[in-house]
């Protein structure tokens, strides 16, 4: 899958997350009268949206890598991070509303038109941040967390504004809410994809075999390549590959490769290599798999 296709996929995942969140929110708001307070009601909605959004986006890396175990781990991480994100997103937004209080909003219409959508948009962006960092947390990558933070925040702000303001523009509230949630998921997907590509230091593209054409962004400090589930780039349908065979690492913004296997070799431009700084269009061979290194 190319990086462009990956961004398209992220948007599709975002739309699906939006669809599931919308339907669940509709089911929850039918039960409004059973909640003890508006505050708890709103937080519940935030948590539900957080779980679905983070859960769906948590699967993304596993889907790109065609790795079932990463999909499951992504969903579990997403549900945990989404619960925290949904609560934090709304509570922080709410806290800002508390703090802004009388200084910003002096009437119901002020609150409904400005303070509430604005602070809740901040809440949506915080939720977006948590959705964005899910993959970074799953893979213990600070660089991915940074990318997710920025992408999630931008997507959260844009999508949050759509969720908050579309019901004011569109007559059919049900449709407005649906479009709002779809936009929220879509924008998180699109911004995550754009930021991820912008901040990556290069791309490894598979040149042969069953997964020829698949691109891997170098967006974390260390990327393990091998046949094991623990590797970041899992090569399951290639020959002569050790569980952790090689490692891509970033040193002073330069991308390097080193052999991590004691038994097997790696080649860069047909030369056996233990460690090498990669240059544009270098060809890496790990077992039977060949990659080309390109700048993103």
């Amino acid at each position: 899958m190319s990086t462009l296709m990956k961004r398209v996929f992220l948007c599709i995942i975002g739309l699906l997350a939006g669809l599931a969140s919308w339907a669940t929110v509709e089911l929850i708001i039918i039960q409004q009268a059973k909640f003890p307070s508006y505050l708890l009601f709103s937080i519940t909605l935030g948590v539900i949206v957080g779980i679905f959004m983070s859960g769906f986006f948590g699967t993304s890396e596993g889907i790109f890598l065609a790795d079932g175990s990463k999909i499951i781990k992504g969903i579990i991480t997403g549900i945990i991070v989404g619960t925290i994100g949904g609560t934090a997103g709304f509570l922080i937004g709410q806290a800002i509303l508390f703090a802004a209080g009388n200084n910003l909003a002096h009437s119901v219409s002020d609150i409904n038109k400005i303070a509430l959508p604005l602070t809740r948009t901040i809440g949506w962006s915080i939720l977006g941040i948590f959705i964005g960092i899910t993959e970074g947390i799953r893979s213990f990558s600070f660089r991915k967390i940074k990318v997710g933070f920025l992408g999630g925040m931008l997507g959260g702000i844009t999508g949050g504004l759509a969720v908050e303001y579309l019901p004011r523009i569109l007559d059919n509230l049900l449709v407005a809410r649906l479009v709002g949630f779809l936009s929220f998921g879509f924008f998180i997907g699109i911004f995550y994809g754009i930021i991820e590509k912008t901040f990556s230091l290069g791309i490894l593209k598979l040149l042969n075999g069953k997964y020829k054409g698949k691109e891997f962004l170098i967006n974390q400090k260390r990327i393990k390549i091998g046949s094991s589930s623990w590797s970041d780039i899992k090569l399951s349908d290639y020959e002569d590959i050790d569980p952790i065979h090689a490692e891509i690492f970033v040193k002073r913004k330069n991308v390097n490769i080193r052999n991590k296997s004691k038994e097997s070799i790696i080649k860069v431009n047909d030369d056996i290599t233990e460690q090498k700084e990669l240059k544009f269009e270098d060809v890496i061979q790990i077992g039977s798999a060949k990659f080309i290194f390109k700048y993103s």
Binding site: Q32, T59, I111, A176
Partner: protein
């Protein structure tokens, strides 16, 4: 004789009714509903002489809430605070009629004595009212209206500043003299949105709503052909939590605006008539007294979904009769009203989303290519015609010639026949051969046996050799 008795009884009943004890909801503050679930209801209670009562037994008051104005549910009162507005003060916006008729005398006749004009009398009454305010927490603002609404100052503590602004209210000229009551009240409420606390507009009027567009046929400077309805002014003032108190000033024979009366009634205000300067001065004080004597009741709101929630305050009067007042506040949530009932479509939508996600996870994006081919990975713009070339011949020429199998256009460094991919039928192996150095896997070579995934660079065009499934045939 009999008819006289009936008339007497009727008048007696009317008087009794007119001066019975009453309760009136003057403001509902729901601005902290989301934060602490509290609704604050301000009520004013008047005795059988129409005078405000500052204190009343809490037990005589009940509060109930309804989502449909029919089925009211009693709520538990959290706190009951008499004279609630004294500490936090009141924000008054004095909205003066500055239409052409205000420059007549009280009998509606033109006068050369400026002091006898209605506007001069109104200004003097306003000065007396402002000077009578001793509570530093109270704030006063000033605005006027004719064809146009003009605000001179929103409520401030500096009362002298407001008095000075009165001099800026000048006689309207030409088509400025119409009376835009409803639009002005709408705009005043909008201006009031910037201020928190107890808010009251005191509007002085000497006639009826006479919109500019309706009477001149010309579009209004600010609203064009839009003519405001009094209902819009009601809605806006309710949303902004403003009570509108009306003073009808002028001759008893003057027509009074029924819409303005409705605005006051629906926003928790009161309508007063003043027929001379002294009465006018006392009315301003009465309004202030009335607001000061308001009682604030706080209760926890219910969670039933509704765009509006109706609040009913009921009081047991001294003769054990029940008097009540009902008003509503806006209770819509940001996502709006829920569906009336759950629909299977929602569950289906969740299932569809999950199913599609599962299907996405099933896509492996496997390379389906079974034929040996060359694939262009990167090429400068305008140098290539197609992205792939199947290797069907024993010799495949790459070069700048139009007769080459893979033509690279507009690249001066590329020879007519730059490199050839040769297929050896015996060994089933592909090899690259060239007279010049060609970059294969970033390394210059003249000949090289190709393996799947090898990268050939010809004049900046990057080509990948893909063996396809050839290995299976060996």
């Amino acid at each position: 004789m009999k008819s006289k008795s009936i008339l007497f009884l009727f008048v007696l009943l009317f008087i009794q009714k007119a001066f019975a004890e009453s309760v009136n909801i003057s403001q509902i503050d729901n601005s902290s509903l989301l934060l602490d679930q509290n609704i604050r209801v301000y009520i004013s209670i008047t005795d059988n002489k129409g005078l405000p009562i500052k204190r009343v037994d809490e037990g005589k008051i009940t509060v109930s809430e309804s989502s449909d104005e029919k089925n009211f549910k009693k709520v538990k009162v959290q706190s009951f605070k008499p004279e609630a507005n004294y500490e936090r003060g009141i924000n008054f916006l004095l909205l003066l009629d500055n239409s052409g008729s205000m420059y007549f005398d009280l009998n509606g006749r033109e006068t050369s004595d400026e002091e006898k004009t209605r506007i001069s009398q109104a200004k003097r009454a306003v000065i007396e009212f402002i000077n009578s305010i001793k509570n530093p927490a109270d704030k006063v603002g000033i605005a006027s209206y004719n064809s146009y609404y003009e605000v001179y100052s929103m409520p401030v503590s500096d009362k002298n500043k407001i008095i000075n602004y009165l001099d800026e209210i000048k006689k309207p000229s030409g088509e400025e003299g119409w009376t835009e009551i409803y639009s002005s009240l709408y705009l005043a409420a909008e201006d009031f949105s910037q201020i928190s606390g107890r808010k009251a507009i005191i509007i002085l009027s000497d006639g009826e709503n006479r919109p500019f567009y309706v009477h001149t046929g010309k579009p209004h400077r600010d609203f064009g052909k839009k003519v405001f309805k009094y209902q819009e002014a009601i809605e806006k003032n309710i949303i902004e939590g403003v009570s509108v108190f009306t003073i009808n000033y002028g001759n008893p024979a003057d027509k009074k605006d029924s819409g303005l009366k409705s605005i006051s009634y629906n926003t928790g205000g009161v309508v007063f008539d003043a027929y001379n300067e002294e009465e006018l001065k006392s009315v301003y004080s009465k309004i202030r007294e009335r607001i000061l004597s308001e009682i604030m009741i706080t209760y926890k709101a219910g969670m039933e979904p509704a765009e509006k929630k109706y609040v009913k305050v009921e009081m047991t009067a001294s003769d054990n009769s029940k008097v009540s007042s009902t008003r509503y506040y806006i209770s819509s949530m940001i996502f709006g009203m829920p569906l009336k009932e759950s629909t299977p479509w929602l569950l289906l939508a969740i299932l569809i989303a999950l199913l599609l996600l599962w299907l996405l996870s099933m896509i492996k994006f496997k390379n389906r290519n079974t034929q040996p081919l060359l694939e262009i990975l990167d090429a400068p713009r305008g140098t290539i015609v197609s992205r792939t070339l199947a290797l069907t011949k024993n010799q495949t020429v790459i070069g700048g010639s139009k007769n080459a199998d893979l033509t690279i256009l507009n690249a001066p460094s590329v020879k007519e026949e730059h490199a050839t991919i040769v297929f050896d039928q015996k060994t089933q192996v592909y090899a690259l051969k060239s007279k010049e150095d060609v970059l294969v896997n970033n390394k210059p070579v003249k000949t090289k046996i190709l393996e799947s995934g090898d990268v050939i660079n010809v004049g900046g065009t990057t080509i990948v050799f893909d063996e396809g499934e050839i290995k299976k045939k060996r």
